[in-house]
């Protein structure tokens, strides 16, 4: 009887210990995250915004690849985005002496909403956008007469903030 008890105990220990060890192995604990924001900027080409060569004295020349219904930049809010967002824009001159006010954008091809880029902070263009929403940006440039020939470039920054938060 004693032998049976000891054998059973030993057998159970052999079975139970690995089971306990397996159960004690640390399972990675999930870390919770929220405020998921995923924004994709689509460019009909792959050059960013491109105006090509523009003659001085030209007004509101559009991106070479944009067309009616084809914005220079399309901003898409991805389906997993779990907050409403406002989309803002700002510009920074990176080369040349063309003032920022000559770099413009609009929400439509007809330029009814045309406005000049401004420096920091971003200016809200679209508000309360949610998952799967699409926002169009058409870009334009004005090169005043007398502008020196050469390279003139800017950086255009798009910013998504939770609706209601300041830019």
């Amino acid at each position: 009887m004693k032998k049976a008890c000891l054998l059973t105990l030993a057998a159970l220990l052999v079975v139970a210990m690995p089971l306990a060890a397996w159960l004690v192995v640390e399972v990675p604990q999930p870390v919770y995250a929220d405020d998921i924001i995923s924004i994709t900027l689509s460019d009909p080409g792959s050059d960013g915004i491109d105006f090509g060569e523009v003659d001085p004295g030209s007004e509101n020349v559009g991106d070479v690849l944009q067309d009616d219904g084809v914005p220079a930049v399309t901003v898409t809010v991805a389906p997993e985005t779990d907050v409403a967002v406002d989309i803002g824009i700002m510009g920074t001159v990176t080369s040349g002496d063309l003032e920022l006010s000559n770099w413009k954008y609009s929400q439509d091809f007809e330029k009814t909403t045309i406005a000049s880029l401004t420096g920091s902070p971003h200016v809200a263009v679209y508000t309360n956008k949610v998952a799967n929403d699409i926002c169009a940006f058409y870009h334009w440039i004005t090169v005043p007469a007398g502008t020196t020939a050469g390279e003139h470039t800017v950086q255009v920054s798009y910013k998504a903030v939770k609706t209601g938060d300041p830019f």
Partner: protein
């Protein structure tokens, strides 16, 4: 013979044509982020961490991310891991050096949680879509030792995402801010509440009176961040793990019991087996 040549030419064209099409594919610049706990509790004199996660499932270009501390309370030390550093990149075989904290390559979506996560990456659950792999930035915050308990501070991390290879006159990029609210809390795990009035001896109260001023609120698991609510995104394979003490060990009694529960169950099974099986065996023999 001519037919053969024509067929071979057609086959070659079929193979070669899609290649330039892929190269000229319209650019999609994706900047996707998720933020870990935003409310952090840190013991003065110690360090706590916040996390921001980045992934890239809708883009077809590598997203380069630079991060900067744009707001922090005076005297509080905030550092970002990985730090800003030079990354050497070949763009159309031209060497370019970029200054960034991290970069996120376009990655596929998985229907199930990926079992194998390469070093330096994290598995991210993308609500309604599945799982992907991305990268994390850790925001390390040190609260000065002399900070009064209950003090709150707001940290802001400004992120900028940019993409290489844009040769047009206006390069496009994205910006985003991440805010962390930090509260300085007591390092003690025991709940004590002391009412101090002028001209009177300090007296210890067991339970707070509704009108009593709260001098030292109890804080759970100080020294680290805590999930603030059930979330829509789960990032796994995450080094921070569950709420930990500053030393990295679970502190609460409840956690200790939970840690040892399987061992306790196994012990009970062994003891019960040792008693019941011989009893059953001896009954059978009778």
């Amino acid at each position: 013979m001519k037919k053969l040549y024509l067929l071979a030419l057609a086959a070659l064209l079929l193979i070669v044509l899609p290649l330039p099409v892929q190269a000229d594919e319209p650019a999609k610049y994706n900047f996707a982020s998720a933020q870990g706990a935003k409310e952090l509790r840190i013991v003065p004199g110690e360090e706590g961490s916040g996390y921001i996660y980045f992934y890239n499932i809708d883009g077809n270009r590598i997203t380069h991310v630079s991060l900067e501390v744009s707001q922090a309370p005076s005297g509080w030390e905030v550092t970002i891991e990985p730090p800003l550093s030079d990354t050497h990149v070949l763009v159309n075989e031209m060497p370019v050096t970029v200054v960034e904290n991290l970069y996120v390559e376009p990655w596929e979506l998985y229907p199930d949680e990926p079992g194998d996560v390469p070093e330096g990456m994290v598995s991210i659950k993308v609500p309604t879509r599945g799982y992907t792999l991305g990268k994390q930035a850790r925001i390390l915050i040190s609260v000065p030792e002399d900070t009064p308990l209950g003090t709150t501070g707001t940290m802001n991390i400004a992120a900028e995402a940019f993409w290489l290879g844009q040769s047009g006159s206006a390069a496009i990029k994205q910006a985003r801010d991440f805010t962390f609210n930090v509260t300085a809390v007591s390092g003690s795990t025991e709940y004590t509440e002391t009412i101090v009035s002028e001209g009177e001896e300090p007296e210890t109260a067991g339970t707070p009176e509704p009108s009593a001023p709260v001098v030292e609120p109890a804080q759970p698991t100080p020294g680290t961040e805590e999930p603030e609510k059930p979330a829509s995104s789960v990032i796994e394979s995450e080094p921070s793990g569950p709420p930990l003490s500053p030393e990295g060990e679970s502190e609460t009694g409840e956690n200790i019991i939970m840690d040892w529960l399987p061992v306790i169950i196994a012990g009970v099974v062994v003891i019960l087996g040792a008693i019941l099986i011989p009893v059953l065996v001896s009954r059978r023999r009778r």
